[in-house]
């Protein structure tokens, strides 16, 4: 049976059945891999890092999905796992390098500039550089709203922060990035 057209609830039922577990897991990966990959890639910049974090996320999903209680949507839960894994990764990077946050951030900026497609005159690259100027948590809020167009209600469940605080954070982030683009 092709599982590609099944809803999340149906996929979860298939995942809990040992005979269709792998197929269901493959379908879940295929359904969400690009959204999660880009969510992570925008945060960690480097492809290899994004790939590592994504694989860790999906292994966590494999181990935890059977007990997923469906209090929230699968999509929300996946974003929460991915966001937490990403923050842990960035934290580890900081510790490993024993450098300050600003050093890690300038490292991310350098990674952007090292991308084979980088063109500093193009608006979309200036946008990426502008995003890196934001503090980590605000960067996540910006990415989820700007790229994924996630409703604040949903984002509030992913980040466990009030909708009002998320809205304010996003509005400030937009202004900061706009200023960055205008001045560079």
């Amino acid at each position: 049976m092709a599982l590609t057209t099944l809803s999340d609830s149906e996929l979860l039922v298939e995942f809990r059945n040992p005979d269709s577990k792998e197929k269901a897991f493959t379908s879940i990966i295929k359904k969400y891999q690009e959204k999660l990959y880009w969510h992570l890639r925008r945060m960690v910049v480097d492809h290899e890092d994004a790939n590592d974090v994504l694989q860790n996320v999906m292994i966590r999903v494999w181990n935890g999905l059977e007990n997923f209680r469906e209090d929230s949507q699968l999509y929300t839960w996946l974003y929460r796992v991915a966001t937490n894994e990403c923050l842990t990764f960035l934290e580890q990077q900081k510790k490993r390098a024993a450098v300050s946050l600003s050093d890690v951030e300038s490292g991310l900026e350098n990674k952007i500039k090292a991308d084979q497609n980088f063109d500093g005159n193009k608006l979309e690259w200036k946008l990426q550089l502008g995003i890196q100027q934001l503090p980590e948590k605000q960067r996540i809020v910006f990415q989820l709203r700007y790229y994924d167009e996630m409703p604040y209600e949903e984002m509030s469940r992913v980040l466990e922060t009030s909708e009002g605080a998320l809205k304010a954070s996003y509005h400030h982030a937009v202004k900061k990035i706009e200023d960055y683009i205008k001045n560079h």
Binding site: T26, Y37, R41, V45, Y146, V174, I177
Partner: protein
């Protein structure tokens, strides 16, 4: 002014001028800025919200400019299942 003199303060001789600078056009643009913030708060979706917050950003392409290796997404689920299976084999042999 008289109050300051009554208090015996030297400030009575100072001309109370504003020394702070304000960006050019700040007050002219402020009503529109505030109105756009209000509209952004009331927007029903992210696209509409962004047109009020930043017309500039609302026009930037959301296409990701980063390079991704060929076949990465096609092969990912297979790579993951292999990794999970190796991990489980390792755990079984450890038990």
């Amino acid at each position: 002014m008289n109050e300051l003199a009554d208090l015996g303060s030297d400030l009575k001789d100072h001309d109370p001028q504003n020394i702070y600078a304000v960006p050019a056009g700040y007050f002219e643009g402020l009503p529109d800025q505030i109105l756009n913030r209000v509209k952004a708060l009331e927007a029903t979706n992210a696209k509409e919200e962004l047109t009020y917050l930043s017309p500039l950003l609302s026009k930037v392409s959301k296409e990701m400019p980063y390079a991704v290796p060929a076949r990465f997404f096609q092969d990912l689920s297979e790579v993951l299942l292999k990794k999970i299976s190796e991990h489980e084999d390792y755990q079984t042999s450890e038990d």
